[in-house]
């Protein structure tokens, strides 16, 4: 038998989904359209969650108390993403970050931008851990997480 290189077989799995958002997150998205950021507060431990949670993950209590949080907060951590992969939703480069908005007790995942992101050394002069950032809203609101366009450093 002729010696042959092992073969590979091309395959693809594409499955569309419709994911239920639930009432809590629908409320959150609806208020983003009004340029407000809401969290929910646990009556037992007192922590405020952004994004809001229907129940507290530690106390397991229902959370039906809504709290509006500030549109400014502190950078808990960040990473400059300049690595492409299949299905990536944002154009690279972007700065992925955890932001603790004033009045909340959790890191909110979003991006930091509004300046040139090509070079890490430039980026790090603008983004620092513990520094403050504020919300920049998208002009067109679609009822999604990118209704907040990005967070920009506060000078």
């Amino acid at each position: 038998m002729a010696k042959e290189e092992p073969r590979e077989f091309k395959a693809e799995v594409v499955v569309p989904y419709e994911l239920a958002v639930g009432r809590t997150w629908t409320t959150f998205y609806d208020t983003l359209k009004e340029e407000k950021i809401l969290g929910t507060k646990c009556r037992k431990c007192g922590r405020v969650f952004v994004p809001p949670r229907t129940f507290c993950p530690r106390c397991f209590e229902e959370m039906d108390e809504w709290v509006e949080v500030a549109q400014e907060g502190v950078v808990e951590t960040w990473a400059l993403i300049n690595m492409p992969f299949y299905g990536q939703q944002l154009e690279i480069p972007f700065v992925s970050a955890q932001i603790r908005l004033d009045g909340s007790d959790t890191g909110f995942t979003h991006r930091i931008g509004g300046f040139d992101l090509k070079d890490f050394e430039t980026v790090r002069t603008r983004v620092k851990l513990g520094s403050r950032v504020r919300t920049v809203w998208s002009k067109e609101k679609k009822g999604g997480i990118l209704d907040i366009d990005y967070f920009e450093p506060v000078k």
Binding site: L19, Y86, S96, T106
Partner: protein, 388 residues
Amino acid sequence: MGKPVAIIGTGQTNHGRRRDVSYPELVREAVVAAFEDAGITPQDIDGVVSGTMPSMMEGISLTHFYFADALCQVGKPILKVETCGSTGQSLGHCGYYWVASGMGDIVLVVGHEKMHEGDSQATMTTVFDPFFQQTFAAGAPGIFTMQCMEWMYRFNIDEQKAREAAALVSVSNHDNAFDNPYAHIKIRVTVDDVKSAKVITYPVRLLDVCPNSDGACAVIFASEEKAKKICKKPAWIKGMGFRGEEFFFGESDKSVWPSATEAAKEAYNMAGIRDPLKELDVAEVYNPFTYQEMIFYECFGFCPRGEGPDYVLKGTFKKGGKLPCDPSGGTLCTNPIGATGLIRLAESVLQVTGKAGDRQVEGAKLALSHAMGGTDQFNGITIVSSEL
């Protein structure tokens, strides 16, 4: 505490890019090797536990059905376990539960992944919630970079010092991989190579990051009675710990990492370990990222918080150091994810049974193995000993 449980055999494939075998053939390779090592036949096993990362990694759902034949499952009960990167440790825990409960005498546990067949970072990005975090996610490097930045900031660790230490971690793992016949990446690297390698997500560079590997690992668990009858030198499970955290990345403090810390505490309590740095002979820490390996040292009590880099610079965790870590070359040089946590366990078993070949830590009697999974969400630990 259940009944005592031993490990009587392990088997690994040669890990790497395995275009020469289909996925079930790869799995069978590890299973056959484990049976040979234990000196038993498929007829001797009472059940099978199997696990991977998300099935999406290879585009086939319910992989344990796909591998049923390769796993000798015909006519036996089977369970699938899936906790992302920590799958391998969860698999081992499941094997332990099965035998410790007395419901099975000999159980085959297999972890596997064929990462070259899909798109690992695209798959891992789907581990994030689809409504809030997935948009900003960038697979494993994004999340681990954020974690290491937070850790350096929290403990005021000098960036250059951390960089130097992370480079040493990389060099030591790459050197160790040469002692491991199963390891994937075998290249000699210098500190300068690591520090000047291509940036993945700053400060993390190419040589700070694990590869995508194809590979499988099988481990055979047995009751005390069977182990003593079949195996001359079994390894005994002395301690286990597993902890989870909130699903959302920003809801727990990753710089002190509660799940890693508490999982270790639980395992130490069970094993009666008070001073891990002194008492453990070797550790197989799950280390897909060099910086993260240092966070684990701190969480596991190998050194005080914020001092991981200092201990690395002192040589504490390298070959011949006080507590050699990853003499196998670790996850950094070989990462077929669903198998990786089980490889850590298998390697620790080889160490305490004196079968680790060129990577043997002389006289090793007590070893820790570990794996981490999810968006830094889960941590699992198993401690094995040469003594019952």
